[in-house]
Symmetry: C2
Amino acid sequence: MHPNLLDQLRVFQAVVEGGSFAAAARALGRAVSAISYAINALEEQLAFQVFDRSTYRVSLTPEGQALLNDAEILLRRAERWEARARSLREKVEAVLPLIADPSYPEGFLVDALKKFEAQYPLVTITVRRAESEEVVRAVREEEFPLGIMLLDHGRQWDGIDGRQVAADKIALVAAPDHPLAQIEGAFPLAELENHRQIHLHSGAFDIRAFDYRVHRTDVWGVDTQSALRMMIEEGLGWGFMPEETARPAIEAGRLVHLNCDGIAQPSLRRFAAVWTTRHPPGKAGEALVASLLRDEEPVPA
Amino acid sequence: MHPNLLDQLRVFQAVVEGGSFAAAARALGRAVSAISYAINALEEQLAFQVFDRSTYRVSLTPEGQALLNDAEILLRRAERWEARARSLREKVEAVLPLIADPSYPEGFLVDALKKFEAQYPLVTITVRRAESEEVVRAVREEEFPLGIMLLDHGRQWDGIDGRQVAADKIALVAAPDHPLAQIEGAFPLAELENHRQIHLHSGAFDIRAFDYRVHRTDVWGVDTQSALRMMIEEGLGWGFMPEETARPAIEAGRLVHLNCDGIAQPSLRRFAAVWTTRHPPGKAGEALVASLLRDEEPVPA
DNA sequence: ATGAACAATCGAATTATTTGAACGAGAAAG
DNA sequence: CTTTCTCGTTCAAATAATTCGATTGTTCAT
């Protein structure tokens, strides 16, 4: 009434691979009669034969042949279960939700996930993008075990631990035919406020609260870096953009650097991976943080 | 040493769903101690707890939570195995390879497979297209259990059984600017031979052997109906095409009917599903043949 | 013909699972 | 604060599932 299907299927597979009950018995380290018993029990459940015993060497019946595929699929799933159990035993997370500031370059993220996936193919990653303020909140309240945020001063770090993982240079850019691009020499910071900024944000929050770089109310917001680039290229406004993302467009003549007095050009922006001290990342989280680390660019003090 | 993992997972799932060991015991019709035993055995295998017993109502540990997904996947796979076994018990094929003449309209096939899939979602269909002569051979030699071929006279039917499943009208067409389309009134059959025919065939065989409609050596062959239509539309030659396939193109003015003395216009073409008398189709094969049957169009004697 | 390899079968032994009863602990009701 | 209910664990006994080794009859290769 309670046959061990998985074990029967393992026997089934071993017989098919070995070509005989005896070979399967040797391979599994059991007596031949145990193999015979298991196959008979399987066939009794199925109510039909999977092996044809009329021949000297047992051979698969058409039904057995048809079942072989499904048996292997089920066994592979069972192996996956074992692998998952082993993972959890070693404190590897099964799912790893990540919340990251939208200004963290997508390319960085993709690079990291590619490296990570090679090590932990079983771990399911989900990514949500939200402003750094929201990242801190979500991590602190343990909605997300891991976050990526801008490394700013003046934030509250109680209960939060983290490490800097990347830095990029941020460029002030506009389209070549934008009025700001026509100005000879450097222009004052105030001049920026006479033109529309295109600003990266996630639609859900009040943009004024989250970026000191927003200088005036004439701001258009978009929620992906590709949309930001497109809108600036179309001359709809000026904006800040990661050097790396902007470079191809600048080389292609679709964007230019702006020369503004008040803004160091290009200015440095640093990102940190963060988590709570109470629930530090497990093995997979550690590996992800290690993958996020970009040591190509030297990190200034 | 040989725990019944699937059973343990069923218990695990029942406890999660019921919220308590007692509820699971009631749901599964077993004693509470059996539930306790099963979960303990599972946890011993895993080497960690899946339920937190410190609370009054048992609750999932984070590890248990993580495993729930995988457990359900594995159980669903096991159910699929049961379903497949049930199918085979009722003589439903697991795979159903089909070999069909390339002139059998793709639309007919898609319609049939859509109906079939609703009844037998577990059955894997594979389709190969080959000339009717090859279909007969492959079915006779049991390389394919089921074939679809042109219903012609003069073939050898020993050991082959079958039934007519569809008929379509076949039209003689060319592009509007083709020389044949410029002729006033009907032209003789011989005139066809002065122009190139575009002919549907599967590349592997000598085309002369397989279609009595091939009238001369200036024949270009293509292996899909869409390619045939395109080439005729481009004015590369004349050809035979199913009325239904041709109609939209004729209405759009991209093709015209040709008026030829020697060819009944449009002429009727009939298709049959065939199998060997020795191995008639099983349940799934029968259902597929039934799905192939198109009774919209009256079948003439 | 003969020996080697194979699979089915049987009874005994072993292992896995179930049961019911006894127990202690938390929760809910009085 | 006690009573009562439900809960999960534990234990020993019972049952079911699986394994083993020995025996038998078969087919294959020599």
